[in-house]
């Protein structure tokens, strides 16, 4: 007590006081540092609530601005050093955009039942370009760009949307619910954010396997509100899982603007709360995206821990073909982003200024892409639907006798009453043996 009172009167020795007051083992602790389990801060006599409004938001990492110029003082982006990759990324974004337009229109014409576009968020192609093709991807539904960058053929997108006999999902999924083992892309699952704890679990498995790969998990600003998101981030951190979480913050969850979705500083602020290294990036700047993805991947694998990337972007299209966003946002807002700030337009400006692209190339490339897409589209539309008997397979690893019986009963019925089922002519023959 004497020592304490002496030291207390000598301000210069306050540091020493902290050192000296480390409790010897067995003795009750002194009041200098909080001893609560897991505590790592100090005591204070200043009563200050942390007011979130007093903090400027986490800054947005950006290298190339809206005019397509490298920002003053910005380092040369890695992606910009690879002309071929730049052009490939750009053309892939164009292809995604054009395919989206054609498939969206086809839904309006009643040719497919449903569709979701990636308008305004094509930059995700650059994010995928920085990954290892074997990194396992769990996504939400607006990440077709990742599959396209990984080389999934055009026709497979359309076959899935048409649920025809070449559909990778055998007619069991709504359109845009792609999946491809070959491309390390887990089949899209509708319930929101369920892919997030799954991604943490898969990353845990990868850690166990020591395969030098990471897991990448995409989710939206709305999905981040799900309970699953909290659990996924928390688990990834506590179990030290090599998973890169990528949040596409595009401003809207169907009609819910982010101002109604959360009160905090977006999703990025939640990362550090869970103990996860985090960065916020301009999702419409492909160069910045490529850079952060590379770095995040490195971090995941060298430190064996999760990372969080919040890519800020804007959803130019409707949520889906079941949505009309003019009901909840202004035409002015939309046309600003459409004209000035989206991944395609900004990259185009950069490439043109570099002398790597021209208006002629733009026109010619778009024409070629459109022709290619329309050709594949026509082919997909003509293909027959799968054999209806496929409805019964893959429920379990092996078809149980009772289900087989149901399948045989159905087959016999359809064969006997074909005249009552005219639509069967659009399907592969029932008699085909699997």
């Amino acid at each position: 007590r004497l020592r304490q009172s002496l030291l207390g009167r000598l301000p210069g020795l306050s540091n020493a006081r902290r050192l000296l007051s480390a409790p010897p083992s067995g003795m009750p602790p002194d009041d200098e540092k909080p001893m609560f389990p897991g505590s790592r801060s100090s005591f204070t006599t200043q009563l200050d609530f942390i007011h979130p409004e007093n903090f400027e938001g986490i800054p947005v990492y950006r290298l190339v601005n809206r005019r397509g110029d490298l920002v003053d003082g910005a380092p040369e982006p890695t992606l910009a050093g690879n002309k071929d990759l730049c052009l490939q990324v750009y053309e892939t974004m164009l292809q995604l955009n054009i395919m989206d337009k054609i498939l969206y229109d086809s839904q309006r014409q009643g040719r497919i039942s449903f569709y979701m576009t990636s308008f305004g968020e094509e930059g995700i192609v650059a994010n995928a370009a920085a990954l290892n093709p074997n990194d396992l991807v769990f996504c939400q539904y607006r990440e077709s760009g990742v599959l396209m960058q990984r080389g999934m053929e055009l026709e497979r997108f359309m076959d899935q949307c048409y649920s025809n006999d070449s559909d990778m999902n055998r007619g069991r999924q709504m359109p845009v619910h792609y999946g491809s083992k070959d491309h390390s892309f887990v089949t899209v699952s509708s319930p929101l954010a369920t892919q997030m704890p799954q991604a943490s679990g898969a990353a845990y498995a990868f850690k166990r396997m020591q395969n030098g790969l990471c897991v990448v998990c995409y989710f939206g600003d709305g999905s981040a509100s799900e309970g699953d998101a909290h659990a996924a981030l928390n688990f990834a951190a506590t179990l030290d899982c090599p998973v890169m979480f990528v949040c596409r913050n595009n401003g809207y969850a169907i009609s819910t603007p982010t101002s109604d979705q959360y009160r905090g500083d977006g999703i990025a602020i939640r990362g550090p709360a869970f103990g996860i290294p985090t960065v916020r990036v301009d999702g419409n700047d492909v160069f910045a995206l490529y850079e952060v993805t590379q770095q995040a991947r490195q971090l995941c694998l060298t430190e064996m821990r999760p990372t969080l990337i919040e890519m800020m972007t804007y959803r130019l299209g409707h949520h889906s073909t079941s949505d009309d966003s003019s009901a909840y946002r202004s035409v002015d807002e939309l046309s600003f982003w459409d004209r000035e700030d989206n991944p395609i337009i900004r990259m185009r400006k950069f490439l043109t200024k570099r002398g790597w692209w021209s208006d002629e190339q733009e026109t010619a490339t778009k024409q070629a892409i459109r022709k290619r897409v329309l050709q594949k589209f026509a082919q997909a539309e003509k293909r027959l639907k799968p054999n209806p008997m496929e409805m019964f397979s893959d429920v379990w690893a092996r078809m149980p006798p009772r289900l087989r019986q149901q399948m045989e009963d159905t087959r016999r019925h359809l064969e006997a009453e074909t005249s009552h089922y005219p639509e069967l002519k659009n399907y592969k023959p029932i008699a085909d043996v699997e």
Partner: protein, 378 residues
């Protein structure tokens, strides 16, 4: 079909039936033997094992056998399991194979499914299946449906296990029987062991199965010991999923049940045997796929059937069994309608006497059998 409760059966000071009746059950087993009924036991038993140890040893052996198998759940590691089912496993296997999770069923079920999708074979423990409701989206939408919806691309070889149904005095949110809910879903397999042999064989089979399997145990059975055959102690002892077992053969009436209630059927059978009524006790063992063949065969033999479960009456297991019998040739062999004995159609009350009144008891089974066979009460 609901058993009317009369106060004469349930004096206010009656203690929980389960423990005293279970020791009677063990006596029954010893006198009837494994092959059951009126046949004198000829098989020798290797040893006695309780259900907890059966589950524990099954998990231990499977984790040792396959490097991809691991256990995760709340309190499973250092605490050795909320009900000590994973006793000793963490000490033996370490952090990589036995993992404690934060309290989020939604989170760890999702995580386990993801690990299975990436090639591991998790055993995901729910402290009770009541809490699985917080994770049920992952069990159904992430696990059960995924192989189908990905056309075979994504496999989910996971086991969800834990105690199911009523314990003693834990009230409505801790006492629900989920047999109906899970066996409803295509893509899942659902097993429900009764005794130690069931527990060992079914859990091992579930872990080795490539489909998602739900294993519904019962807390009240964990401490109960049963004689087990020498085969049961083998590291490769497996019980085929989808096959029921005749615990006691009989000619007069089929008692069809699963889990803890098989024990009550066995006790009722013993009591009824004294008056010359031969009950055939059919232990379903698997709820999905249901062993319809065994059910039909039994009913065709006995012409009378009573099902016993703790699910609520509407859309319970008894309802499914009744429908299957009607849809099969066994319908023409029935001499009386099926009676389904179920839990009372109320959330489980807490008070001991009320809880006892809300579940089928041995005396209820005996009375219903007599009624079905048109025998007057003794």
């Amino acid at each position: 079909y609901l058993i009317p409760l009369s106060s004469s059966h349930y004096p206010v000071n009656q203690t929980t039936m389960h423990r005293p009746s279970l020791s009677a059950c063990q006596l029954i087993l010893r006198s009837f033997g494994r092959s059951g009924g009126n046949i004198v036991a000829s098989r020798r038993f290797a040893s006695s094992m309780n259900v907890r140890d059966a589950l524990n040893s099954a998990m231990k052996e499977e984790i040792e056998r396959d490097p991809n198998v691991f256990l995760m759940g709340e309190e499973v590691a250092q605490y050795e399991g909320a009900y000590k089912v994973s006793k000793g496993l963490w000490k033996l296997m370490g952090d990589k194979r036995v993992i404690d999770t934060p309290i989020t069923e939604m989170g760890f079920a999702g995580l386990a499914v993801g690990a299975a999708m990436a090639g591991l074979r998790p055993i995901c423990e729910f402290m009770t299946f009541n809490f699985s409701m917080q994770a049920i989206d992952h069990v159904i939408n992430s696990a059960a449906k995924t192989y189908y919806m990905s056309a075979g691309d994504v496999k989910v070889p996971i086991v969800f296990r834990g105690p199911n149904g009523a314990a003693a005095g834990v009230a409505a949110q801790h006492s629900q029987d989920f047999a109906s809910w899970y066996s409803h879903c295509p893509g899942l397999k659902v097993v429900s062991p009764w005794n130690s042999e069931d527990a060992r064989g079914l859990l091992k089979a579930a872990i080795r199965d490539n489909d998602p399997v739900v294993c519904l145990e019962n807390e009240m059975m964990y401490g109960v010991s049963f004689e087990v055959s020498p085969e049961c102690e083998s590291k490769d002892f497996l019980i085929p999923i989808g096959k029921a077992k005749i615990e006691i053969p009989g000619n007069h009436i089929s008692l069809i049940s699963y889990g803890k209630f098989v024990g009550l059927c066995v006790e009722a059978a013993a009591e009824l045997a004294k008056e010359g009524i031969q009950c055939e006790v059919l232990n379903l063992r698997t709820l999905r796929p249901l062993d319809e063949e065994a059910i039909v065969k039994s009913v065709m033999k006995t012409h009378h059937v009573v099902t016993v479960e703790s699910c609520w009456p509407q859309c319970g297991m008894g309802a499914e069994i009744a429908a299957r019998i009607m849809e099969s040739q066994a319908f023409d062999y029935l001499d009386a309608p099926l009676t389904r004995m179920t839990g009372a159609d109320v959330p489980m009350p807490y008070a001991q006497a009320l809880e006892a009144a809300a579940l089928p008891q041995v005396a209820d089974i005996v009375r219903v059998v007599r009624r079905t066979l048109n025998r007057a009460a003794k």
